[in-house]
């Protein structure tokens, strides 16, 4: 009986921080798949579009050089003037463009997507979950 009681105490001691972490930790995983924000698409949907998609990598050149989605074009805010012409060379009117950056907390892809849309590049989507979503599905 004593052992059971001690086990319950240990369980309680573990549950308290676990609950706090699940409620407040900034890196906590979602309980369920979040709803899509306007302009976002899930990886599965993008993959169903086939090879016609133009992937845009909004991360730094260093991260891009380390690894990127095959055939993705680098386009970030830091080097916009240098990289935008190369994007234009690759992009075809009406081609679906999907922008990704490094993590769920990163808003770089939204900023790049917004700037593309302001230049009449349509349609442009942001990959939900970013690079991590791609890596985890490989």
């Amino acid at each position: 009986m004593k052992a059971v009681r001690q086990a319950l105490w240990i369980l309680l001691a573990a549950l308290v921080p676990a609950f706090l972490a699940s409620a407040f930790h900034p890196k906590r995983p979602a309980w369920s798949e979040d709803v899509l924000q306007p302009g976002e698409e899930r990886l599965g949907t993008v993959q169903s579009w086939g090879d016609s998609v133009l992937w845009v990598d909004a991360r730094s050149r260093k991260e891009f050089d380390t690894e990127h989605i095959p055939n993705a074009v680098l386009l970030n805010l830091e080097e916009w003037d240098q990289l935008f012409p190369a994007f234009l060379d690759r992009w075809q009117p009406n081609q679906k463009v999907v922008v990704y950056c490094s993590s769920l907390a990163c808003h770089m892809s939204e900023e790049v997507a917004d700037r593309l849309r302001r230049n009449s590049v349509e349609p442009v989507y942001v990959l939900k979950g970013g690079w991590e979503a791609w890596k985890s599905k490989r």
Partner: protein, 214 residues
């Protein structure tokens, strides 16, 4: 019941060890030519036991320098420096720095870096495009330099003859309309508009807009 002391330590550490931050929420307004801003967050261990900084991570586009040390005794002070690369960005930006310490393992401190980046020039749109076979009608690019920026546009030229430019200065050097007309739309063409300014002196900025027939 031997585990109770550990439970006690876990639950009471935040009461005895805590970092007090001098200015956890900082705002910057950089100059137009600045490439980055650096925020320094100073802290003091206001508790009675040592505090260990176990993790520091940031929103992307923002980096923190490595800490010289991780453990700070009672009364000891330290600093976390965060650099935000603002090149290419404009407008209001907010970045968060999450600091996890032994005093609050489950509840990281959030330091905030706000930056209002002035736009040195506005080019809208940066791209004008015609589909193959479209009517070769003129499209307009508007260029404006904010009054608070001591710059003027000194020239707008193209790198080839695939388009014709018609410049109209609304306010000399400060506000221009550029009407771009392709010579034809029967074949693909790519043109860069080179927009030169006179600021900053010695190394004046050049900006770009693009015309495409695709």
């Amino acid at each position: 019941m031997r585990f109770l002391p550990f439970l006690f330590v876990l639950l009471t550490t935040p009461l005895f060890g805590q970092l007090k931050w001098e200015n956890p929420d900082q705002t910057f307004v950089p100059k137009p030519q600045d490439k980055e801003v650096i925020a320094r967050y100073r802290f003091t261990n206001a508790g009675t036991i040592p505090v260990t900084i176990s993790d520091v991570h940031t929103s992307c586009g923002c980096t923190t320098a490595a800490l010289q040390k991780k453990q700070y005794g009672p009364g000891e002070s330290g600093e976390i420096a965060a650099a935000f690369n603002i090149a290419g960005r404009t407008g209001h930006q907010e970045k968060d720095i999450y600091v996890t310490t032994s005093a609050a393992l489950l509840n990281p401190t959030v330091l905030r870096l706000k930056v209002d980046i002035p736009e040195s020039i506005k080019i809208e749109p940066q791209l004008v495009m015609w589909r193959l076979g479209d009517q070769p009608v003129a499209k307009t690019i508007r260029i404006a330099v904010p009054d608070e920026i001591p710059a003027k546009v000194v020239s707008v030229v193209t790198d080839n003859q695939a388009v014709k430019l018609d410049l109209r200065e609304i306010r000399p050097g400060k506000e221009l309309e550029v009407r771009v007309t392709p010579q034809g739309t029967t074949q693909a063409a790519a043109t860069t508009l080179v927009i030169r300014t006179d600021y900053p002196p010695g190394n004046p900025e050049t900006h770009y807009a693009y015309a495409r027939v695709k």
